[in-house]
C-alpha cells in the first residue's frame, strides 16, 4: 500500500496544501491576501517538483486499477502545475488592480489543479469523472467570483447548467459502457471490447455520449455554445485559467477514454471526431472574423484550435497522439500570453477587451506590440513560431495515416483563421492609437509576459526538445 501511496504523493500533498491555504487565508487580514498568494505559488512549485521526482521509469497502475502513473500523466501534470503557476502570476496583478482578491480564488484554483491531476492519472471511468467534477465545480465558482458583475453571473450560470448537462451525458455514456462491459476500469473495457462478444452498435451508442462529454469540456463545435459567453463574461484572469491548464486535462481525459479505453473502436471514433474537427475549425475560424471583442474572438479561436487538436487524435497513431499533446501544450502557452496581454493593457474598471483597445499599440509600447505580434503569428501558424510546429506536427501525422484530404481541409481553414489574427497585428501596427496612455503594469508582469512571448519564438526556432518530450510521453 505504501508503495502505491508513494506514486500519488503529489496529489496528496496538493490536497493538504490547498486545505492549508484555506485555513491560513481565514486568519488573514491583508486585503491583498499576499500570504495566500505566495503559499499557493509555493504549493504549485512543490507539487511540480514532486511530480517530476515521482516520474517512474515504468507504467504503474495503482489503487485497484483506477489510478495510473505513466510518462504521459507525469508530463501533463508537470505542465499543468507550471502553467497554472504563470496563470496565477498574471491573475494576481489583475485581481489586485480590480480589487477582486479573495483567498477562495487561490483555494479553488488549487482544487481545480488537483482535479486536473486526477484526470491526467485517471485509469477508471469513476476517477475520470471525479477528477472532472472537481475541476468543473471549482471553475464554476471561479467564473462567478466577481459577484457585482451581471455578465460574470450570467456566464457562471450558463457554464454551470450546460456543464451539468454535459456531465450528465458523460455519465449516461459511462453507464452504457459499464452495463455492456461490466467494468469501469479502462484497460478491462478495452479487453472486453476487443473480445468481440459485445454488440458493437450499443458500444458505439455509449461511446457517442462520452465523446459529447469530452467535446463539451474541450469546447468543440457543436458543443461550443458556452465558450464565447464564458470567456467574455468571466473575469479575464479566470478566462486565462480556463483557456490554458484545463485544456490539458481535457486532452488527458480524451486520451484515457478514447485511447486507453475505447481503442478497439478507433474507426468509429475517428469518424465522429472528423465531423467534430471540421465543424470546430469551420465555426471557430469563420465566426471569429466577425467578433469585435477580443476575449470572444479568442474564444472562437480556441474552438478552432480544438478542431486541430482532434486531427492528431484522428491520426490514430502514437505519433498522432504525441502531435495532439504537442498541440495542446503549445496552445496553452500561446493562450496564456494572449490573455496575459489583455490583463497587461487593462486598468482598474477598464478591460482592454475590445479590438479597438489594441489600436496603435506599436506606438504606445513597441516591445509589447512585438510580443503580441509573435503570439498572433504563432496562433495563425506562421513559422518561425511555435504555433506553426503544432499545426505541422498534427498535419504530418494525419497525412502519414492517410487522411490527406482532411489535412487539405484543415489548411484551408487555417487560411481563413489567419485573417483575424492579422487584423490584430494590423490594429497594433498600421493604425493610429486613440490615446497614448502609458502602460501601467508591474515589473514582474512585464518580465513574465516578455519571457512568455520569447519562449514562443524560441520554441519556434528550436522545437525539438518539446517534440521529444511529447513523443517520449506517448511511447515511454
Amino acid at each position: 500500500m505504501s508503495a502505491e501511496l508513494a506514486l500519488a504523493i503529489p496529489e496528496i500533498t496538493l490536497l493538504l496544501l490547498a486545505c492549508l491555504v484555506l485555513i491560513v487565508d481565514a486568519f488573514s487580514n491583508d486585503p491583498d491576501h499576499k500570504l495566500s498568494y505566495w503559499l499557493t505559488q509555493a504549493s504549485l512549485l512543490l507539487t511540480l517538483s514532486l511530480v517530476l521526482s515521482v516520474n517512474p521509469p515504468v507504467t504503474q497502475v495503482i489503487f485497484d486499477n483506477s489510478f495510473i502513473s505513466d510518462s504521459m500523466s507525469t508530463i501533463l501534470k508537470a505542465f499543468i502545475c507550471g502553467i497554472t503557476f504563470v496563470v496565477f502570476l498574471y491573475s494576481f496583478e489583475y485581481l489586485k488592480e480590480n480589487k477582486l482578491v479573495k483567498g477562495e480564488y487561490f483555494v479553488l484554483g488549487l482544487f481545480a489543479v488537483l482535479g486536473m491531476m486526477i484526470m491526467a492519472s485517471a485509469y477508471s471511468l469513476l476517477s475520470v469523472y471525479l477528477g472532472l467534477e472537481l475541476l468543473s465545480l471549482s471553475l464554476y465558482a471561479m467564473v462567478a467570483m466577481n459577484r457585482e458583475s451581471p455578465a460574470a453571473s450570467e456566464a457562471a450560470m450558463k457554464y454551470f447548467v450546460l456543464g451539468a448537462l454535459a456531465s450528465g451525458m458523460l455519465l449516461y455514456g459511462i453507464s452504457m459502457i459499464y452495463g455492456l462491459t461490466g467494468t469501469i476500469q479502462l484497460s478491462a473495457i478495452a479487453d472486453a471490447i476487443a473480445s468481440d462478444s459485445i454488440n458493437k452498435s450499443f458500444l458505439v451508442f455509449g461511446m457517442i455520449f462520452m465523446i459529447i462529454g469530452i467535446a463539451f469540456k474541450l469546447g468543440a463545435a457543436p458543443f461550443h455554445m458556452w465558450v464565447p459567453d464564458v470567456y467574455q463574461g468571466a473575469p479575464t484572469s479566470v478566462t486565462l485559467f480556463i483557456s490554458t491548464a484545463p485544456k490539458l486535462a481535457a486532452f488527458a481525459m480524451a486520451m484515457r477514454i478514447l485511447v486507453d479505453g475505447l481503442y478497439p473502436l478507433v474507426e468509429d471514433w475517428q469518424a465522429i471526431l472528423t465531423i467534430l474537427a471540421v465543424l470546430s475549425m469551420a465555426v471557430g475560424n469563420i465566426i471569429a472574423i466577425s467578433q469585435s471583442n477580443i476575449k470572444r474572438m479568442l474564444a472562437y479561436s480556441t474552438i478552432a484550435h480544438v478542431g486541430y487538436l482532434f486531427l492528431g487524435l484522428i491520426a490514430g497513431t502514437q505519433a498522432g497522439f504525441a502531435g495532439a499533446m504537442f498541440y495542446i501544450i503549445s496552445y496553452a502557452m500561446m493562450s496564456m500570453g494572449a490573455f496575459g496581454m489583455i490583463i497587461l493593457l487593462g486598468r482598474f474598471n477598464f478591460e482592454a477587451e475590445n479590438l479597438e483597445d489594441f489600436k496603435g499599440l506599436s506606438e504606445r509600447s513597441p516591445w509589447f506590440a512585438f510580443i503580441m505580434m509573435c503570439l498572433m503569428f504563432s496562433m495563425a501558424g506562421i513559422p518561425p513560431f511555435l504555433g506553426f510546429w503544432s499545426k505541422w506536427f498534427v498535419l504530418k501525422e494525419l497525412v502519414a495515416s492517410g487522411f490527406v484530404a482532411l489535412a487539405a481541409v484543415a489548411v484551408v481553414f487555417s487560411i481563413i483563421g489567419a485573417y483575424y489574427y492579422l487584423r490584430i497585428i494590423k490594429l497594433m501596427y498600421f493604425d493610429k492609437p486613440e490615446s497614448m496612455t502609458a502602460i501601467k503594469a508591474s515589473k514582474q508582469m512585464r518580465v513574465v509576459l516578455t519571457a512568455n512571448g520569447l519562449l514562443i519564438l524560441l520554441l519556434g526556432l528550436l522545437p525539438d526538445s518539446l517534440m521529444q518530450i511529447c513523443i517520449a510521453a506517448l511511447t515511454g
Binding site: 505541422w392 502519414a400 490527406v404 487555417s414 485573417y419 492579422l422 498600421f430 525539438d464 517534440m467 521529444q468
Partner: protein
Amino acid sequence: MTITQLPILSMLIWTPIIGGIWALIAGDRQEQTVKYFSLAVSVITFVFSVMLYLEFDTSVVEMQFVEQASWISAFDIQYYLGIDGIALPLILLTSFTTILVVLAAWEVIEKHISYYMAAFLILTGLMNGVFAALDAILFYVFWEAMLIPMFIIIGIWGGPNRVYATIKFFLYTFLGSVFMLVAFLYLYVKAGSFEIEMMHSVPLSLLAQQFIFVAFFLAFAVKIPMWPVHTWLPDAHVEAPTGGSVILAAIMLKMGGYGFLRFSLPITPDASLYFDDFMIVLSLIAVVYIGFVALVQEDMKKLIAYSSISHMGFVTLGFFIPFSIYANTGQLSGAIMGVEGAMMQMISHGFISAAMFLCVGVMYDRLHSRQIKDYGGVVNSMPYFAAFMMLFAMANSGLPGTSGFVGEFLVILASFQSSFWIAFFAALTLILGAAYTLWMYKRVVFGDVTREEVAELKDINGREALILFLLAVMVLAFGIYPAPVFDVMHVTVENLINHSLQSKLL
C-alpha cells in the same frame, strides 16, 4: 582556411538577420548610425555572395557549399544548405538588390527608418535562406517567415490603401503555400525524408504527381504570379513603398520561378508533362492579355506591375516548353535553351523591374503622385533622370543590347522548336512591351510641361544617380555579355532537364 570551408551560406542568411535585429534594438534613437550600419551589413552580405560566385565550381552537378546539421532530430529535419547553378544567380541578385533598397530609403523614409531597414535586412536573410535551403521544411520555414517582414513593410510604410493590399498579399501567398506544405508532408511519407534531393528521386503514381503538382502550382503560381492568380500583385505593388516594390518585383516573384525549377519539374515530371499545355496556355495568356492590361493603366506602378506579370509569363513559358520541344524534336538542346532563357529572363527582370520601380520612386518622392497624367515634360527639368529611364524603358521592352533582350529572345527561339503559334504569341510581347513601356515613357517624360510642379522638379542627386548607374551597368553588361550567367547555370540546368524528361512513374 579557404573560403569554401567557411559556412558561407549561413553567413549570407544570418549576417543580415542579426544585423536587422540589432537595427530593431537600436531603434529610432540612433537613426544615422542605423542607416550606415544597414548599408555596411548589406554590402558585407553582397561581398559574401560574390565570394560564393568566385569559389563556385561551374562544372559540378552536385550541390556546393553544403552545410548539414541536425535541427529537429525527432523527425530528421535538418539545417541543410547548399546551392547549385540555379540558386547562385538568385542569391547574388538578392544581396545586390538589398544594397539598392537600403540606399533608396536613405532620405525618403521619414517614419521609423531603423525599423524599415531592419525589416529589409531580415527579409534579405530569409530570402537567401529560401534559395539555399535543401530541406523541404527548412525551405518552407524561410518561405513563410518571409511574409512577415513584407506584411509589415507594406502595412506600415505603404500608400493610402495599404491595409487592404498587405492583407490580400499575405492571405494570397499563404493560401498557395499551405498546400505546398501538405504536399511536402505527403512526399515525406513516400520518400522517408525531408531532403529535397531525396524527393527528386522518389517514384510516384501519376495521380499522386498530379495532386502534388497542383499543390506546388498553387504555391508558385501565386508567387510568380501567373494569370489568373495574379491580382494581389498590382495592389501590393501600388501600395508598397519603393523598396518594397523593388524587393517584390526583383526577388519575391523569382521565388515562384525558383520553386517550379526546384520542386515541380524534378519531383513531378510526369504531371508536368501532363499539365504542359495548360501551363503554356496560361503563360501565353499572361504574356498577351496582361500586356494589353498594362497598356491601359494610368498608374505608373500598376503599369510596371502588370508588365512584371507579363514578363513572368515568359519565365513559366520557358520552364514548361521543354516538354513539347523534346516531344517534337527529341533533342535536349532546345529544351535547355528554353529553361536557360527563362532563368536569364528572371535575372534580367530583377534588374529592370527594380530600376523601373526606383525611377517611379524618384518621381513620386518629388511630386507624390504616380499618375501618368500628373506628369509630362519631365525631361525639361530632369534630363539626367530622363536618360536613365530611357535606358530602362528600352530594356523593359526588350531592346537588343540590354539584358531584357537575351532571355526573351532565347525563349522565343526555343518556342519555335515546339510550335510556330506558341512562338508567335510569345513574340507579341516585343510589340506589346514596347507599346506600354514607351507610351508611358512618352507621356511622362516628353511632351509639353503642363504643370508648374513638373517645371520645378529637381534632377536626381548623387545618391539616386549612383543607384540608377549601378542598375544601368548591370542591364547593359548582361545585355552585351550574358555568358557568366549561362556558365554558372548550364550544368545544373542540363542535369535538371535530363532528370525532368524521364518518367518516374511507379
